[in-house]
Subunit: 204 residues, 2 copies
Amino acid sequence: MKTRDPITNLINALSKFPGIGERTATRLAFFVLKEPVEFANELASALIEVKEKVGLCQRCCNLTEGDLCAICRDTRRDPTTICVVESTPDLRAIEGTGDFRGTYHVLHGVISPLEGVGPDDLHVRELLDRMRPGPDQQATPVTEVIVATSPSVDGEATALYLLRLLRPLGVRVSRIASGVPIGGELEYTDRVTLSRAIAQRRDM
Amino acid sequence: MKTRDPITNLINALSKFPGIGERTATRLAFFVLKEPVEFANELASALIEVKEKVGLCQRCCNLTEGDLCAICRDTRRDPTTICVVESTPDLRAIEGTGDFRGTYHVLHGVISPLEGVGPDDLHVRELLDRMRPGPDQQATPVTEVIVATSPSVDGEATALYLLRLLRPLGVRVSRIASGVPIGGELEYTDRVTLSRAIAQRRDM
């Protein structure tokens, strides 16, 4: 709701951010008031610019300024392996490891019946399109899809859904490992993670 | 530093907020990307508007859109009592009680030698001007100044500084009470607060 008071308007706008309540929004708004006008201008133009310029990659649905994202454009990346992630921050996290040299596919969500998110709300169709090489798609066929959704209830359900769609196409479908994190303490690991780490033990 | 990547620019701008690190800024930036464009536009215009329209009240240095703030304009407020606060959020907190019917004076800071803030960096001169009624000032003289700076080292130093300036002018200078908060547990109250609560005990 737009009011006549500029401070209230700013507090209302800031408190729409996730995890930012009215109290934090008030603190941030007073910070804006105290800072030189350049801070507000810079943030405002960054907000406008990001919405004007950033769209989705036509191939992998990653965020990009052009038609294809930097990873899809990079010819040194292996186009036969696709890592499916929930979101762009997840993609950034995997890129941060520097170990994965394949390409990605960003679903922009997970199937979540409780939140009313079905398969049609995700970018699953674009993933399937990549399995059938066509004029718009890459030349080399995809051989493996790594499903890197979170090991949560919704993430697992999404992974199973993708498995059912992809296996008939003759592509290898794999799932990221879950277990005790490196450096984690067994004592403080939750029971579900621990029992899965034992069930999915591997030979040394 | 301005980069060519709109997402990085937005993350950089957001992480200038106090208490918002790069990780939170990234989360907020991706929220902006996911939300409809109206969210970014609304926040951007609220940022611009607040810096364009909001200035300081000529009398009490509270934030206002006009020359005088709503409290100074309100003729039902008692102009003979001034409550001195560190910041506008502190003023809002006292207004939130609904109990104080006097007027305010906002210092916009406290004297803090460690952070290089001296009396000249605060709006002390404007407070002194209010003690000598002139053509620009209110007609009725001020009889009491309540110093409501925080009971911290800097807040106490500022209170003492104001006391030395104001007492020679023949005005009553008082200080907000400090002690165990209402509903607080004695067991968990820090030692300084507790010993002050005992030293400043009052008859029942």
